[in-house]
Symmetry: C2
Subunit: 150 residues, 2 copies
DNA sequence: GCGAATATGTTTCCTAGTCAACTATGATCG
DNA sequence: CGATCATAGTTGACTAGGAAACATATTCGC
């Protein structure tokens, strides 16, 4: 083996390549709807968790509260979500989908479904299952599922 | 099935979670050596391709030339690489490791090896092989290996 | 009940990358 | 040869996110 092993040899590196490719492809598809991948993720997270607080959402989405703050700002400006103050705790806010946002989610969800299906279609059903299983093991063992997505 | 399928259900989503986790862990480890993940990737790419042009490197690393330009700027400022003009074609430049940079690569390579091994150690050898195989299929079928890393 | 610790969001500064405009140089073709 | 076209690299405007400082607001301990 070489002293400096091939960068390609790292599984983490392969993972990053593939992950970037999926995301990038999806980014192109949702761009037509005027949203970014991160924005879609937030809209999706709000669907079903309406009225959640920014910090809870940060936990759920695996992002910092600063990032959520800015993301929410952008979505509010686009009229897709609404921010309201909490009367009980004046520090707290509530994030929820606007009606325009709520209408957009199913459309984007369909895009996401299609994108995923198309990208992984080059694998057999068995391989797809294998991949998902292995990823799930990694997620569990590394405690990555801090987010109770549903 | 729900009208809006679970975001967790998308394989691309799982992939992104795991990929981010590996990268982030590695980022923490190389931070002690004063470099970022992107900087390490460039140093590693230069090792063995000394004197490569910025645009060739962009192709190899799957980044835009603008990104390479800025990355090179940072590394040059840290004294880890050197930029020299090309006498034949006054447009072209050559990037190469400085001696300090060359000394740093093996150290970082060892860190990368360890990080990868540790992260995927929760999988059996067979599972690791499976994962790599599947990722390689995805990379091949989607034409992602534009980069002749070696 | 009042001071200290804690929680919530926002803001600022930084890294990181894309895209597109731009500059400078080189190549091609009439 | 010279106009046009192509290529190399840099730069600026922008999106995106993390880390930490910050301003409020709340709660806890005494």
């Amino acid at each position: 083996m070489a002293a400096v092993s091939d960068l390609n040899a790292h599984t983490g590196y392969l993972l990053r390549m593939v992950s970037n490719a999926v995301s990038q492809e999806f980014a192109g598809k949702v761009a037509g709807d005027g949203v970014t991948v991160a924005e879609w993720a937030m809209l999706r997270s709000l669907y079903g968790s309406d009225g959640i607080s920014p910090s809870a959402l940060a936990l759920k989405m695996g992002m910092t509260k600063g990032a959520i703050s800015k993301l929410a700002e952008r979505l509010a400006k686009k009229g897709l979500i609404e921010r309201t103050g909490n009367p009980d705790d004046k520090r707290g806010h509530s994030l929820s989908l606007s009606s325009a946002g709520a209408r957009k989610v199913p459309v984007l969800a369909r895009l996401a479904d299609n994108n995923d299906a198309a990208f992984f279609a080059v694998l057999s059903n068995q391989e797809q299952g294998h991949l998902r299983g292995i990823l799930q093991v990694l997620i569990d063992r590394h405690g990555l599922s801090t987010m109770p997505v549903d």
